[in-house]
Structures are given as structure tokens and as C-alpha cells.
């Protein structure tokens, strides 16, 4: 089984300067913060189902940046329709990375739809995503990293991971501070 924190650390290791990351609520926010709490991360602590759509708005506003949405299977399932919206708009600079533990990890580990019948990579492909890839073992993570950081979007990677609970790494929780930190970093980059 792939360790989620190690996998996200590998994807975000030596991240490009123009990479902007939005993390979905719950463990993906902790994973992204654990990999490096930088100003170019926008951490969601709520707004479940909105991460991918938020990524689209940001990607459309900043064609000079690469936007990566890191989220969980539960969050992605709640915004399943946004995969259709992304497919229709086909933003070249947007990638989605789903950390798929096939469970609602924050709420007691109840089995999610991906633990039953839903294949999120197949859904994305059917919505018009250019490429998708799924990592089932640690050795697959490098190719998923290459997909979500370098290939023409929209692309979606899935990392199948264990559903064990890890120590929480809690970044800033005040949304005003998160927003201002992120916007200031973008302004300074221009």
C-alpha cells in the first residue's frame, strides 16, 4: 500500500516556482502542509465538493501558472459534476490529484463509493480529461507526478492509499489569512 504522506511529499518535492496548489478539506490539507507549508498553497477546511471548481477559476485567471488540486475521494465525489465542467472547459494548466483511500477518513472510515464501484479516473476520462493515471504501488507515483505536473491538462491522477489515520499536520485555519498569504505570494511573483 502507498503511504499518502510519502506520496504527496514525492509529488511536491522540488516543486516548480509556478505551481499553485489547492488542497481539499481533511487529510489532503494535512498532507500538503506536511510536504511544505508554503505561501503558494491554498488550504480548504470546508467547502466540500468545491476544490476542483476552485482550481478551474484559478487556472483560468492565471494561464502562466500550473494549478494542482490535491483532494480526497470523498471531496471529489461530492463535486463529481465539476469533472464535467472541467472537461468541457479543458484548461491546459489544471491537474487534479485524488488521494483515494476508498473511505471517509475524517468521519470514522466509512467505505466510500470508490471502495465499491466508482472509478474516478474513468469518470474524468469520460468527462473529456486529456489523460488520467492511477498509482496502486509506490513505484507508480513517479509517473503520476509527471502527469499532474507536466502533461497538458486537464489531467487527473489517482493515488490509491491506505485508509489508516496519520498524525494531523495543521496549517493556518483562518481563511482570510490563507487568502491574503496566497494572493500576496502571487503578486510578488508577477
Amino acid at each position: 500500500m502507498i503511504g499518502r504522506r510519502e506520496a504527496i511529499a514525492e509529488v511536491l518535492k522540488d516543486r516548480p516556482d509556478n505551481l499553485l496548489v489547492i488542497s481539499g478539506l481533511g487529510s489532503p490539507t494535512y498532507d500538503v502542509a506536511a510536504a511544505g507549508d508554503v505561501a503558494q498553497n491554498f488550504y480548504l477546511w470546508g467547502a466540500m465538493g468545491g476544490a476542483a471548481a476552485m482550481g478551474l477559476g484559478l487556472a483560468q485567471a492565471r494561464s502562466d501558472a500550473r494549478v494542482l488540486v490535491v483532494t480526497g475521494d470523498g471531496e471529489m465525489l461530492m463535486g463529481l459534476g465539476s469533472l464535467a465542467t472541467l472537461g468541457a472547459k479543458a484548461p491546459a494548466n489544471l491537474a487534479i490529484l485524488v488521494i483515494d483511500n476508498e473511505a471517509f477518513g475524517e468521519t470514522g472510515g466509512q467505505t466510500s463509493h470508490t471502495g465499491k464501484t466508482t472509478n474516478l479516473a474513468a469518470v474524468a476520462l469520460a468527462c473529456g480529461f486529456r489523460q488520467v493515471a492511477t498509482a496502486h504501488k509506490q513505484a507508480d507515483v513517479a509517473s503520476v507526478k509527471q502527469l499532474v505536473l507536466e502533461e497538458r491538462g486537464p489531467v487527473l491522477g489517482v493515488i490509491k492509499t491506505a485508509s489508516d489515520e496519520l498524525p494531523r499536520v495543521l496549517p493556518e485555519r483562518d481563511g482570510h489569512i490563507i487568502r491574503n498569504t496566497f494572493k500576496t505570494a502571487l503578486t510578488n511573483q508577477q
Binding site: A47, A53, M54, L58, Q60, A61, R62, H176, R179
Partner: protein, 177 residues
């Protein structure tokens, strides 16, 4: 997608709304279609500087325009009153982070409504917005609609708050079947 050229029909008050959006430098428009917004949607699609996104559900538009604002672009969402309830939890994103947000809402379920299924959400629209922390305007004339759109953009983007402009069913005209 290549934009079709578009011109508003004479007397279509949405032309003034569109002018207000252009004056306020709106760069992204997100929508779930409504007949009452049809000409405005076509005008935005025909405009080379406005990036239009059709949504599967209205809550996507709330998150989308928050993302646009992070990237430095102003946006507007067009929807019908029945879509407002779909957004409620996503509105917490606006409040939690202080995102500016503007939506223009065509009203159903109020003036001469034919479809009883439109009544519950139509009647709850204004209160839903207010309880979600929005400033709410209600336009009963085309002139008001354009002025309120301009004011809403300023309130949102200069004073960081979410604003809804309700375009009343009396203004739009009750739908006939």
C-alpha cells in the same frame, strides 16, 4: 470555441447590465442557464475578454469565482432562484475567507408563477442570501438592474462582501406555458 457575434434586441435592459459588467472589468462569468439570462449569457460568450463557464450545479460557480479572485480576476455568476439553495454550504467559503462575490439571480416563484414547484425556493431566496451574509438588492426595473449590478460589483470588490442582485419575476415576465 469561436464566439458568435451578438447584439441585444432594442429595449433589452440586459444590455445595460452587460455594460456595467464590462465597466467593472469582469473577466469570468459562470452560469446555470435561465431563459431570463439568455441574452446576457450570449453577450458574454460573444465577448472575447470574458471567460464563460457553464456549470452542472450552482455551487461550482461559488468555488470557481473564489478561485478566479485568488488569481486576480473579477467574476459574476448568473443563476435562477431555484439554484440558490444548492449553494448554501459553499457560501461559507466566501464568508470564511472574505471573498468578494456577485451573483445576478432571475426570480421564479413570486410574480404570477405557474409552476408550484418553484414556490418554495423562490420564496426562500432572499432570506437564504441574507442568512448567508449577503447584501441583497432587488430590481423591479431594467434601469435599477443595471445600476444595482454596478453597485454590487463595487461593494463586492472594493468592500469584500458577497452581493446578490435579484431580478424580479415581474421585471422578467412570468413564464407562460
Amino acid at each position: 470555441m469561436r464566439a458568435e457575434p451578438f447584439a441585444f434586441a432594442a429595449g433589452d435592459w440586459r444590455a445595460e447590465i452587460f455594460a456595467a459588467l464590462k465597466k467593472q472589468q469582469v473577466r469570468q462569468m459562470a452560469y446555470v442557464p435561465d431563459a431570463g439570462h439568455a441574452s446576457l449569457i450570449r453577450a458574454c460568450h460573444a465577448d472575447g475578454a470574458i471567460d464563460c463557464t457553464v456549470l452542472t450545479t450552482e455551487e461550482e460557480g461559488v468555488a470557481l469565482l473564489a478561485g478566479a479572485e485568488l488569481g486576480g480576476q473579477r467574476g459574476v455568476m448568473l443563476m435562477q432562484s431555484s439554484g440558490v439553495g444548492n449553494c448554501v454550504n459553499m457560501f461559507s467559503l466566501l464568508k470564511s475567507c472574505g471573498f468578494p462575490f456577485v451573483t445576478l439571480v432571475t426570480m421564479r416563484g413570486e410574480w404570477g408563477e405557474f409552476n408550484p414547484w418553484q414556490m418554495p425556493m423562490g420564496q426562500a431566496t432572499e432570506e437564504t442570501f441574507k442568512r448567508s451574509g449577503f447584501v441583497v438588492y432587488r430590481a423591479d426595473t431594467g434601469e435599477d438592474a443595471a445600476a444595482m449590478t454596478g453597485s454590487a460589483m463595487r461593494l463586492a470588490y472594493d468592500s469584500n462582501c458577497p452581493v446578490a442582485v435579484l431580478l424580479s419575476q415581474r421585471l422578467i415576465g412570468a413564464k407562460d406555458f
